[in-house]
């Protein structure tokens, strides 16, 4: 490949000289050494830009395309030769060189034209140009010199005889079609690409703007030269230098843009340094900066879920609509991470690979971090589910007790009482006493069941909410209790947990605190339901000692909250439960 490039360089040097000579020797007043040199230099720059791009990124076809454009632009000038064969061949194929340039522009930066319309335009350009140049030479009348050419030269190998001014008219139609219609389409497509590009891609698309300007200037130049009979020399001069300037700038702009990805690679050094002081969940920021894609997301595969999570462990879907690209990074064939990024980064796969390799350890770390977070979330959710399910179960048990056992026992006691009354006229006082005792026992059992059901899950909590349930609780407590509770319903697990915190705390106070009074305060504060139970007793309660309080702590934490016990010896106890309640 190196040989080929060296050969092209040599051919370019030789062809440059030939092109210069042909113009200066044969075009007379149409050209000048300066103009001829400018044209050759423009072509050389295409060749050089192409060879450099080719050397830097051999797999990308843009380099070869640009080099071809350079050679083609040089060969085009050979149509001014006074050799009939050279004239004929390069008159016919020389104009194709502009379409090689267009081809390279539309293939920038990936090396391939991906858009359907762009591909159609370039294909149309190639074929229309070939048809026109061939036709012009076929109808060429040696008596009428072609425009742009040395009027003394009249040899075409294709000529079949004179057709008046047909060739000159065709030349004009050709300019209208190619430099009017097709060039306008090309400018439109270039501008469309700039407008629809993502912000990241747009930064790299500046060369397309240069190309659009160059095409526009060239089109104006060609039109003026073709349709204005005697253009002023100054205007002609201006137009020539403007368009040649743009054409010289074009390969430089393309090469600069093309190499920017290489410049971006210089960021990888910084990337490695920055990774040193990056928290696992911040790796996205570092990669966004290194790859210059502010929209980039880093996702991690969770094999057991067959899905992806972000750095915080939240489940995330990969985009499937094609609006963004996904690159999967692997290490030892194990999936490591997935980068969701701007499509323009696809043109620089090496850059992504390099960044991925540099960040491998950090990514591995972040993946473990995310996995742990995801598992932690799962455990939390499962704890919450357990509490919720247990609550539902308790509610069900409470209703079963009331509607089942308790109901039956009352009915049974009533039947026995009726039987007792029937016996009142005293067949056997012993049986009557027995019945009376049984009814009393049943009454006890009913009372106990009622208390049991209330302890399992008070019905009033389900029916009327936390404030009503606490009021009921307080009114049954053999101790003066100040109650301050906001009305309003909350999710059942939150209400139940808050209720049981107050209930257990109050039970502890009654049993152990020797308090003369207590207070319960329930309020919503910053998205938390805060339950505070305070007494003026002896203190000394703690959540750790396996009491009911530690079980309550677990319960509160299962809902993402926490329970604090502040106890000062002889200074009373304060129990504060905080439960997140989204409201």
């Amino acid at each position: 490949m190196r040989i080929l490039r060296l050969a092209l360089l040599a051919a370019g040097a030789f062809l440059g000289y030939a092109a210069y000579r042909v113009q200066v020797d044969n075009l007379g007043s149409f050209t000048s050494p300066a103009r001829a040199s400018a044209i050759v230099i423009g072509a050389w720059l295409f060749l050089l830009a192409g060879l450099i791009a080719w050397g830097r990124r051999p797999s990308n076809r843009l380099g070869p395309l640009l080099a071809t454009a350079g050679i083609a632009l040089l060969l085009r000038q050979l149509r001014y030769s006074h050799d009939a064969a050279l004239f004929t061949v390069f008159f016919v194929v020389g104009e194709l060189s502009y379409w090689v340039v267009a081809h390279a522009v539309f293939a920038y930066p990936s090396g391939r034209i991906t858009d359907r319309w762009e591909r159609r335009l370039v294909a149309t350009g190639y074929s229309v140009t070939l048809v026109f140049t061939t036709a012009i030479l076929v109808v060429y009348n040696p008596a009428k010199p072609l425009r742009f050419f040395d009027p003394t030269f009249r040899k075409s190998l294709l000529a079949v005889g004179g057709f008046g001014d047909a060739a000159i008219s065709l030349q004009k139609v050709f300019v209208v079609v190619v430099w009017g219609f097709l060039a306008t389409s090309a400018i439109a497509l270039l501008i469309r690409r700039l407008v629809t590009a993502s912000p990241r891609a747009r930064r790299l698309l500046a060369p397309l703007l240069v190309a659009a300007i160059a095409v526009g200037l060239r089109a104006i130049f060609e039109s003026v030269f073709t349709f204005v009979e005697r253009p002023s020399v100054i205007l002609y001069d201006y137009l020539f230098w403007w368009q040649i300037g743009a054409f010289i700038a074009l390969p430089l702009a393309l090469l600069a843009g093309f190499l920017r990805a290489r410049l971006a690679r210089a960021n990888l050094g910084e990337l490695i340094l920055e990774l040193e002081r990056t928290q696992p969940h911040e790796i996205g920021n570092v990669l966004r900066k290194a790859l210059r894609d502010p929209t980039l997301d880093v996702l991690f595969p969770l094999p057991e879920r067959e899905g992806f999570v972000d750095a915080t462990g939240q489940a995330v879907e990969l985009p499937t609509d094609g609006s963004r690209a996904v690159t999967h990074l692997k290490h030892d064939d194990e999936p490591l991470a997935a980068l969701v990024h701007d499509r323009s980064l696809l043109d620089e796969p090496k850059l992504i690979d390099a960044a991925g390799a540099a960040a491998r350890l950090a990514l591995e770390n972040a993946r473990l971090h995310a996995e742990t977070r995801a598992q932690l979330d799962e455990v939390r959710q499962s704890r919450t589910r357990i509490v919720t399910t247990a609550d539902e179960e308790r509610r069900r048990i409470e209703r079963d007790i009331h509607d089942g056992a308790q109901q039956r026992l009352v009915a049974l006691a009533l039947q026995l009482r009726l039987a007792q009354r029937r016996l009142r006229d005293g067949t056997d006082p012993e049986i009557e006493r027995l019945l009376a005792a049984t009814v009393d026992e049943l009454q006890f059992a009913v009372d106990e069941l009622r208390e049991l059901a209330r302890g399992v899950h008070p019905a009033i909590l389900t029916e009327d909410g936390l404030a009503a349930a606490l009021e009921s609780l307080v009114s049954r407590t053999p101790l003066p209790v100040e109650l301050e509770a906001e009305e309003g319903r909350l999710a059942a697990p939150i209400e139940a947990t808050a209720y049981f915190v107050a209930c257990e705390a109050l039970a502890n106070i009654v049993k152990h605190a020797h308090a003369s009074g207590a207070s319960i305060r329930v309020q919503r504060r910053n998205g938390m339901l805060v339950v505070e139970v305070e007494d003026d007793g002896v203190g000394g309660a703690a959540a750790e000692n396996g009491s009911g309080l530690s079980g309550l702590g677990d319960r509160v934490e299962a809902l993402g909250g926490r329970l604090r016990v502040e106890s000062r010896p002889a200074g009373g106890t304060r129990i504060v439960g905080e439960i997140p309640c989204a409201s």
């Binding site: 209703r399 009331h402 509607d403 308790q406 109901q407 039956r408 009352v410 009915a411 049974l412 006691a413 009533l414 039947q415 009482r417 009726l418 009354r421 009814v439 049943l442 009454q443 009913v446 009372d447 009622r450 059901a453 209330r454 019905a459 009033i460 389900t462 029916e463 009327d464 009503a468 009021e471 009921s472 307080v474 009114s475 049954r476 407590t477 053999p478 003066p480 209790v481 100040e482 109650l483």
Partner: protein
């Protein structure tokens, strides 16, 4: 079902006419409309959800047929529910634990009293109401003995019944009752009406 049968037997044995039985709220409404009974005895838990259909049915009967006395029975009693049911008209209204039926004579007394326009509030409700701490209530001024008397009044007992219960002389009970009326600042009025007002003051305190 078993309970309802027992209840019907108790009422019939007590010399009351059971004119209709109903299995759900709509059957209850039809029966009340058809029979215009002196009293309707309603269980709080009713089909279909066995939660508070009975409560709602009771409130509707109170609203549409104020002349029909109502006795609400419940598996559990809550002061809050008692207050909701009483609203501002304790006449001809009762709210008792279901198992009070077992003490047949007391229960029949309550039924007759309510049917006559009196009240019957479950002692459990009374004790809950005393358990609530209200600093600014005139109830705070009552002596413990007066509280006892007031809660028995709320249960619906007559002075005679209170004498029996507390083992006090009728004179003593009467002086307690008058003291309660004074402390609750109830204007002189026929005694029955003042008793109702005292109970109401007590419930709302």
């Amino acid at each position: 079902m078993l309970f309802r049968e027992g209840l019907v037997r108790v009422l019939a044995d007590g010399g009351l006419d059971v004119v209709a039985q109903a299995g759900d709220a709509s059957a209850l409404h039809h029966a009340v409309l058809r029979e215009r009974p002196d009293i309707a005895i309603v269980d709080v838990r009713m089909p279909p959800t066995q939660t508070n259909e009975g409560t709602r049915a009771a409130l509707q009967i109170r609203e549409r047929h104020p002349e029909v006395a109502l006795l609400v029975l419940s598996q559990i009693v809550e002061a809050k529910h008692a207050l909701e049911l009483f609203s501002d008209r304790p006449e001809g209204f009762g709210y008792l634990l279901k198992d009070r039926v077992i003490e047949i004579d007391d229960f029949l007394d309550s039924v007759r009293r309510v049917a006559r326009g009196g009240t019957a509030i479950d002692p459990e409700v009374i004790s809950q109401l005393f358990g609530r701490r209200r600093t600014s209530s005139p109830l705070e001024e009552l002596t413990p003995r007066e509280r006892e008397v007031l809660s028995l009044m709320a249960e619906g007992r007559s002075n005679r019944g209170i004498c029996d219960k507390l083992v006090l002389s009728p004179k003593t009970v009467e002086s307690h009752v008058n003291s309660i009326f004074a402390k609750l600042r109830l204007a002189p009025a026929p005694d029955d009406h003042r008793r109702v007002l005292a109970v109401l003051a007590f419930l709302r305190a």
